[in-house]
């Protein structure tokens, strides 16, 4: 994969969440994702981008086109330098919420994509990486 396939969107304000959704939708459309695939990917991105802004104190989203043989997909990486999560397993469970959400953000986002990785260190930040293949 070459560098031109990667770009970032800053995630500082709540309005940036909207920009992130639009960037992800555009990329999904360029790759020829179906409407359902687009909607799932954009919705997962929306959940994670909001987490970065509200729980992570801001950060950024990196968008990449990934290839596996003839298959293409998108990889989205959300990174912040916020307080991190002491218990990832708990944070990943349905209904768990640290804030004012429904507690479906992380666990729900995972169900909407093909690949989901999360790393978090208390006091250092959180990185979530997702991929959806066409």
């Amino acid at each position: 994969m070459d560098a031109s396939d990667s770009r970032t969107v800053k995630l500082t304000t709540e309005q940036d969440v909207v920009s992130a959704r639009q960037a992800v939708r555009q990329l999904c459309q360029e790759l020829g994702f179906s409407l359902v695939e687009q909607t799932k990917t954009v919705t997962a991105a929306s959940e994670l981008a909001r987490n970065t802004v509200t729980h992570g104190g801001g950060g950024e989203m990196r968008l990449q086109v990934v290839r596996n043989g003839t298959r293409r997909g998108v990889r989205l990486t959300f990174e912040d330098r916020g307080p991190g999560m002491p218990d990832i397993e708990k944070a990943m469970s349905d209904g768990w919420s640290s804030g004012d959400g429904l507690g479906m953000g992380l666990s729900g986002a995972r169900r909407l994509v093909n690949e989901f990785e999360i790393e978090s260190q208390p006091g250092e930040g959180t990185r979530v990486s997702i991929a959806r293949w066409k």
Binding site: E14, V18, R21, Q38, T39, S46, E47, G101
Partner: protein, 128 residues
């Protein structure tokens, strides 16, 4: 700031969401709508989301909140026109919008509101 217009039609309030919903716009709609229910005494709220390409957990919660708040203020809410891709995504996300009445299109939504209102009036024995 962007605001979503709320139209009054008889006893009902109509909302068509035509813009990409940011969290702030969604929260403002929640406040505006409850205030309008109070000032107009509306008995029903129809929210058309046919132009909405995404409903995530925040927007879903806002919709459920509106329905719950409206109910306490003596008004029914119906959400109409959800795109199939949005419905599929919502269910996989784990949101079922419990307590929110939905209809396929505005016509059926209005039918529901009128029927719910008639039943309520009847149930209270005012017309019965």
């Amino acid at each position: 700031m962007e605001r979503i217009p709320i139209l009054q039609m008889g006893e009902f309030l109509l909302v068509t969401i035509q813009v990409e919903l940011s969290d702030q716009v969604a929260l403002t709609l929640q406040d505006d709508l409850t205030e309008r229910i109070r000032t107009t005494g509306a008995r029903g709220v129809l929210i058309d989301i046919s132009a909405l390409e995404l409903v995530d957990s925040f927007i879903g919660r806002m919709i459920a909140n509106i329905a719950g708040m409206a109910r306490i203020l003596d008004a029914r809410t119906v959400v109409v026109g959800m795109q199939p891709a949005v419905a599929i995504t919502l269910v996989e996300l784990g949101l079922t919008l419990t307590g929110v009445h939905t209809a396929l299109n505005p016509d059926r939504g209005m039918q529901y509101l009128r029927a719910a209102l008639a039943e309520e009036v009847h149930g209270h024995g005012r017309l019965g």
